[in-house]
């Protein structure tokens, strides 16, 4: 393997944002890059691709000033023969141009027939259905995030087709897929992988896939074993405060962990349900229903007792977060029948009851996006001020609590650090800990593993299991089915669906 090694340093004024000296790209092979959110995976990849703005940042690549690096023939060739799928589809697409036009913009227009790619990514939807999605100007809420993401993937695949037909094999390419499946469920993720490996089998490209989705590993081992010699699993880890290093990620370690005996579901004395939520409810004019089976034939109340973990599954956009917010009284659900910690709750329950008796005392919730649910202007220490804790949080107990997920990094400087300055993974850990320290009877977790690296995933699940053993009732909402199917007993899995 003749990897191209890059050393990258990105600074903003006096502050070093990220630096690494072993970012390897293996020509014409596929690299999966894991690592916690915000550690610098995207930024380093953008720097190597030549996408950063030299006016905003002070960047050097392989010791060269950025302008000089971008002007190199090899960098220009990479840009000409490649495609970068950005993490956030909305920011990648031009809101002043129809998606269908963007699919044929520039060199993509050389690929005259994209029906096969689009048909595959939309699971053979008919042309009129496709037109409804593609003949629109992208707006924040239209089309859906998943559809925008598939449009971007289609662009990358079109570019691959163009290269296959116009350039000889061996020309430098660098296809970067930054969280390509972030807005896709497992079914569409698998479609993406299927297309990718088909194109790759026809003509090898250099591919870098940045992802947090560790379950992709199982898919690779199950369906693409033949490609494994040409697949590299890497992880970006923090070497010190600013420097990061790329290390090999052990697929076997992940697969072995999945194969381990799952934690026992009922530990404490079960007793009366902590949460008994009616099977049917309506929010914003939508009728939603909870089922015990994937075929949606057995409606069932969502019941969680002490020491139990329940897991709610549903495709993206059905209303998993809506359900969590309805349980927490943040959305007013109609036809609601709920019993929470012995208290009967209806749609008419007063806000004061939630404020004084439930929130932070009986039940709490971890929101999906740490970036949006934490006060970024506050410090780590201030994040824990104002919580209704049974015992006051002293500096020592705070350090102890944070130590569960941050280990040795909990210094005075860390406590005084602004939340905005933490990496995405650190923010998510803080987001989780803020709710966990409350020790409520019911803890709802919406995508608790968002942005975490494998080490943190294991730690978070250990902590949650520990809380469960101590009697807490946990409700999990996550698209990461592989991990939670392993973590939660089948009998506590629920399926949410829209019903008439």
């Amino acid at each position: 393997m003749n990897a191209h090694r890059y050393s990258v340093c990105i600074r903003a004024g006096e502050r070093t944002i990220v630096t690494t000296d072993n970012y390897d790209i293996v020509p014409n092979e596929i690299t999966f890059l894991f690592g916690e959110s915000g550690i610098g995976k995207s930024m380093i990849s953008k720097a190597v691709y030549g996408l950063l703005d030299p006016d905003d940042l002070d960047v050097t690549v392989n010791g060269r000033p950025y302008a000089e690096y971008c002007a190199l023939a090899s960098t220009r060739e990479i840009r000409d023969n490649s495609f970068f799928v950005f993490q956030e589809p909305s920011s990648h697409l031009n809101s002043l141009m129809k998606i269908s036009d963007q699919l044929s913009e520039g060199s993509l227009g050389l690929c005259k027939d994209d029906s096969e790619i689009l048909g595959r990514l939309w699971q053979n939807a008919d042309r009129s259905a496709l037109r409804r999605v593609l003949d629109v100007f992208p707006k924040p809420y239209r089309p859906s995030g998943g559809e925008k993401q598939r449009a971007l993937l289609a662009m990358a695949f079109k570019k691959m087709d163009v290269l296959t037909s116009t350039k000889e094999a061996g020309a430098d390419s660098f296809f970067v897929f930054d969280e390509p499946t972030g807005s896709l469920d497992n079914n569409y993720r698998n479609l993406f992988l299927e297309l990718l490996f088909e194109k790759y089998a026809r003509r090898p490209f250099t591919v870098m896939i940045i992802t947090h989705d560790y379950s992709v590993i199982s898919e690779l081992y199950a369906r693409y074993r033949g490609f494994l010699p040409r697949i590299h699993l890497k992880e970006l880890r923090r070497a010190d405060a600013r420097a990061v290093e790329v290390i090999d990620f052990s697929a076997q370690e992940y697969l072995n962990w999945l194969g381990e005996k799952p934690p026992k579901a009922s530990g404490a004395d079960a007793g009366a349900p902590v949460l008994d939520f009616g099977a049917r409810f309506s929010v914003f004019g939508r009728n939603l229903c909870l089922f015990k089976d994937a075929a949606h034939t057995q409606p069932a109340n969502l019941i969680i007792r002490k020491g139990e973990i329940a897991y709610v599954k549903a495709p993206s956009g059905v209303g998993k977060t809506t359900l969590a917010k309805a349980i927490m009284g943040l959305y007013h659900a109609q036809d609601l029948s709920m019993n929470l910690c012995g208290m009967p709750i209806t749609g008419r329950t007063e806000k004061k009851v939630w404020e004084t008796r439930i929130w932070g005392r009986k039940a709490t919730m971890v929101f999906q996006h740490a970036d949006e649910s934490l006060n970024l202007a506050a410090t780590v220490r201030e994040t824990f001020l104002g919580l209704p804790l049974a015992r006051k949080l002293t500096p020592q107990t705070l350090v102890l609590a944070l130590g569960e997920l941050f280990e040795d990094s909990v210094t005075d400087a860390f406590l005084s650090k602004k939340v905005a300055m933490l990496s995405g993974g650190q923010k998510q850990r803080l987001n989780l800990l803020r709710s966990i320290v409350l020790g409520t009877d019911l803890l709802i977790l919406d995508e608790p593993l968002n942005g975490l690296d494998f080490l943190s995933v294991k730690k978070v699940l250990t902590i949650l299991d520990d809380r469960r053993r101590r009697g807490a009732a946990l409700l999990m909402i996550s698209h990461n089915e592989e991990i939670f199917d392993h973590f939660v007993d089948r009998e506590h899995v629920y399926y949410l669906a829209e019903c008439s």
Partner: protein
């Protein structure tokens, strides 16, 4: 120092300080003692009232914002509607007219002998200006709260049991809006000087001797309205047709020129400081 000067707000603050020092030195050297005393007193009084306006505006706006927020969430809508109506009523009165009536009231109290202390007079003057300035500050604070209430940030904190008062006061207004608040306060400072000078000038020039500002402390507006200052300012126009007279402006017409310069230069500096601050913090 170089870094400091690169920031527009710091640079203009520096320019203002240097300008004030230069004028002070020039006036000490060339302005007669009684006039110098009046200009100094006028400037300090105006400055103090403007600072008090900032404080009162902040306190009143913060208090009213909280009152509106909690009344809005309450079951009984009457207090909320009454307070909103009262605020809209104040909002409908032109600022200068409202402040003018406030001054008339303070003058009347002074004339009647109810208040004598300069501190109390300053406070009442500042209060009457604040009353007609603070509502736009309330709008800003309410906008900030509404913005954060739409985000997960607010609900995420509430479901953790953090009290609404703390989320609003500490997390939203203090931690996430203090830059906006400070920027607005700088503008309020400028507006206070402008309104004060305008109203003082109107009172000093236009009102009858029955209700006059003689008993009120001297401010830059009242100094500007003095006959000496008016003549000094007219002299500027005279130099346009008689350029050779320009040199005399800086020696023989110093009082009016100084007052006019202080008002215009301070307002211009405040404008640039507020703009620079807003640009630096990308508001």
């Amino acid at each position: 120092m170089k870094q400091l000067l690169q920031k527009k707000d710091s640079r203009w603050l520096g320019i203002w300080v240097v300008g004030m020092l230069a004028v002070s030195i020039w006036d000490i050297l060339f302005l007669n003692k009684p006039a110098l005393g009046q200009v100094t007193a006028g400037f300090l009084n105006t400055f103090c009232v403007a600072l008090l306006v900032m404080v009162f505006t902040l306190v009143m706006a913060w208090g009213v914002t909280l009152a509106l927020h909690f009344l809005d969430a309450g079951k009984n809508r009457t207090p909320y509607l009454l307070l909103t109506f009262a605020l809209n009523l104040v909002r409908s009165i032109p600022q200068v007219v409202g402040i003018l009536f406030g001054y008339v009231g303070v003058s009347a109290l002074v004339e009647a002998g109810f208040i004598r202390s300069p501190v109390l007079i300053f406070s009442l003057l500042a209060l009457s200006i604040s009353l007609f300035v603070f509502i736009e500050f309330v709008d800003l604070l309410r906008e900030r709260i509404a913005h954060f209430q739409k985000l997960d940030f607010y609900n995420a904190m509430r479901v953790c049991g953090i009290s609404e008062g703390r989320v609003i006061n500490f997390d939203i207004l203090w931690k996430n809006s203090r830059i906006h608040i400070l920027n607005k306060l700088i503008s309020v400072f400028g507006a206070a000087i402008f309104l004060q000078c305008s109203v003082d000038f109107i009172i000093s020039v236009g009102l009858s001797t029955d209700v006059n500002s003689v008993t009120l402390p001297a401010t830059m507006g009242s100094l500007l309205a003095k006959i000496d200052s008016k003549q000094d300012i007219l002299a500027i126009g005279y130099t346009l047709t008689h350029p050779a007279y320009a040199g005399n402006l800086f020696f023989e017409h110093l009082m009016g020129l100084t007052v006019a310069f202080l008002v215009v230069f301070t307002l211009m500096s405040v404008y640039h400081i507020a703009n620079g601050y807003a640009e630096r913090h990308r508001l």
